[in-house]
């Protein structure tokens, strides 16, 4: 139709008016640290352990042989400086995290069926491993942080022992997935693990369900 002959130039004009050009930009910002994830609670490192308080759970519990979770799995990307250690029957993944002067921290990834006693029991188990008193149900929310990503809900903890010499720190994440629970635990010398915290948090961000083939 003749009367529609002016549509194309009109449309072209409107299209041009709407174009947003992608441009390279440059700017100066105050010094930034490499990213960490939100939601971390400071460790209760300076809270003293009451005399005679037995550690809750304890290493023995962590070493108890239990069946690992089967079924769908999680995948992750570890930082380049973490050294892959041989996997074991218990561990889904195992890394050595090197530090200064030959110090080394251990990153373990384990998975178990069910909820393994629940979040509080597992948090207290880790607290016991660094000689911290167990938490009550009401204290749990303030001592952990939660991350939601890739369809997963991660409960993240950062606990350091109160001892001055040879102090130990645990960075951990508890991840309910499918019918099981996955544990990501970085444990080692306080200073080394604290320094590795940004890398651990970034590492957690890469955790996601295995994409079905």
């Amino acid at each position: 139709m003749r009367r529609f002959r002016y549509f194309p130039p009109l449309t072209a004009l409107l299209l041009l008016a709407a174009c947003r050009e992608a441009k390279v930009v440059s700017y100066r910002v105050p010094k930034e640290q490499d990213p960490t994830l939100p939601g971390m609670t400071a460790a209760s490192a300076d809270s003293p352990t009451p005399a005679g308080m037995p550690p809750a759970g304890g290493p023995a519990m962590a070493d108890t042989a239990v069946p690992t979770a089967a079924g769908p799995g999680l995948t992750w990307i570890a930082p380049a400086n973490w050294r892959v250690k041989p996997a074991s029957a218990m561990r889904k993944g195992s890394y050595a995290v090197p530090g200064e002067g030959g110090a080394e921290a251990d990153l373990s990834i384990t998975a178990f069926p069910g909820d393994v006693g629940g979040e509080l029991a597992n948090v207290n188990r880790w607290r016991g491993q660094v000689q911290l008193p167990p938490l009550g149900e009401g204290d749990l929310a303030g001592a952990v942080s939660t991350l939601s990503q890739n369809g997963l809900q991660l409960t993240v903890v950062d606990f350091a022992s109160a001892q001055d010499t040879g102090s130990k720190r645990i960075l951990g994440a508890i991840v309910p997935f499918a019918d099981g629970t996955w544990f990501f635990k970085l444990t080692g010398p306080d200073r080394l693990v604290a320094g590795e915290k940004p890398a651990f948090l970034a590492f957690l961000k890469t955790v996601k369900p295995v994409t079905p083939p």
Binding site: T11, E119, T155
Partner: protein
């Protein structure tokens, strides 16, 4: 009236055009509603409403062809139609003041929507209790940031939009002593450690952590609760030769460090950032519930806004009560849920820059005023005629209004 003007006039004042456009709008909205199942709300906005034409790939090819007028096209023509018909049909006068105001309001509303579509920028600002940030992030778009981190006080950042990486455009920026050459780009990719995929082909990456990782392209997603995570292999080429190829992806949030020319550099692909002229600290996020229930009562974020050289102030942002500062509006958008309701500590604020944000308010005020005036004038005329009629014959029916 010459022929050209007459053609424009006849076309744009035509009521047929109005009806045609309204029918097309109905079809567009219906189609877009169905398409939302696959595309999600954001994808539908872009494909159907913030576009001049709805594009579909020609069968069997990747060539997009227009198949239906989009929101901008229909809205733009409706606007033109409304203005032309109005100018052509209505004359200025007190009796028509209400119609004039109502139509002007409608025209402003349409223009405002167009300008919002063109100018509005949406970003997110995620803050944990006690955390301070001076930038917001766009979780839909990414950028490759190359940072000169040599100075202990500040970082010099060159940010390259994902679109340029996708177009494989070589970037030579005055602040970079090397060229940035995108070698490979996947709009959505799955990354996995090479040990988990021993049969994967060798990585194009020669530097950083890319050599240990296998990047596999996967189909694009438009679902509400998913996002595309692109990956790119970027080669940096200095005058004396290649510095290497890095794998970058928002899935690798830790910047990869390297040295060149006596300076320390970082390269990372991240959510596109928009720096703010001030910083925001989350003092406290609150998720209030009705006592004894898990029913939400209120979501609010108490933030401290501080700019260099100012004392700073605290502002409470809650639903329907945004904070406006520096040409930006901060809405309470969402939060990161925790296992226990009420113990959340991470807020997500929506940061909107919309230079035309006032237009809908002005438009709606004008339309309301116009309608009140129009109905008021009619009512007054009706009452006057009724009074006049009843003076002669109480049984006579009222005059036509």
């Amino acid at each position: 009236m010459n022929g050209l003007f007459r053609q424009f006039h006849d076309l744009f004042v035509s009521l047929k055009l109005t009806v045609t456009l309204l029918v097309l709008s109905i079809i567009l909205i219906f189609w877009a509603t169905l398409a939302q199942i696959d595309l999600g709300i954001w994808g539908v906005h872009q494909k159907f409403f913030h576009s001049f034409f709805v594009l579909e790939n020609f069968p069997g090819t990747e060539i997009p062809v227009p198949v239906f007028p989009g929101g901008y096209f229909i809205g733009g023509l409706l606007l033109l139609n409304l203005i032309c018909a109005h100018l052509s049909r209505f004359r200025l006068g007190w009796k028509k003041a209400g119609i004039w105001l109502t139509h002007t309001g409608l025209i402003l509303l349409l223009i405002g929507e167009l300008l919002s579509g063109l100018w509005q920028e949406d970003y997110d600002l995620t803050l944990d209790n006690g955390e301070t940030k001076n930038y917001s992030e766009n979780e839909r778009d990414n950028e490759v940031a190359i940072v000169d981190a040599t100075d202990p006080q500040f970082d010099d950042v060159v940010a390259i939009p994902e679109q340029l990486i996708a177009n494989r455009e070589t970037v030579q920026h005055p602040k970079l002593p090397f060229r940035v050459v995108p070698r490979l780009y996947y709009p959505n990719a799955a990354l996995q450690m090479r040990r988990d995929a021993p049969d994967a082909p060798p990585s194009p990456a020669t530097q950083g952590m890319g050599a240990q990782i296998v990047a596999t392209p996967i189909p694009l997603t438009s679902k509400e609760d998913e996002r595309n995570l692109p990956a790119a292999f970027i080669e940096l080429i200095a005058p004396e030769g290649s510095l290497g190829t890095w794998l970058v992806s928002p899935e690798l949030p830790m910047p990869q460090h390297f040295s060149y020319g006596g300076r320390e550099w970082k390269i990372v692909m991240r959510f596109e950032r928009r720096y703010l002229p001030f910083s925001l600290t989350l003092v406290k996020f609150s998720h209030d519930i009705y006592p004894g229930t898990d029913i939400p009562k209120n979501f609010s974020s108490r933030v401290r806004i501080s700019a260099p050289g100012t004392p700073g102030r605290e502002v409470l942002i809650y639903m329907n009560n945004p904070m406006r500062a520096g040409g930006l509006t901060f809405y309470q958008k969402s939060f990161v849920p925790t296992a226990e309701v009420g113990s959340e500590r991470t807020t997500i604020l929506q940061v909107v820059r919309n230079p035309s944000w006032l237009m809908p308010y002005i438009a709606c005020s004008l339309m309301a005023l116009g309608l009140v005036l129009q109905f008021g004038l009619h009512l007054a005329a009706f009452a006057r005629r009724r009074r006049a009629g009843s003076a002669f014959s109480p049984r006579e029916s009222p005059a036509k209004s």
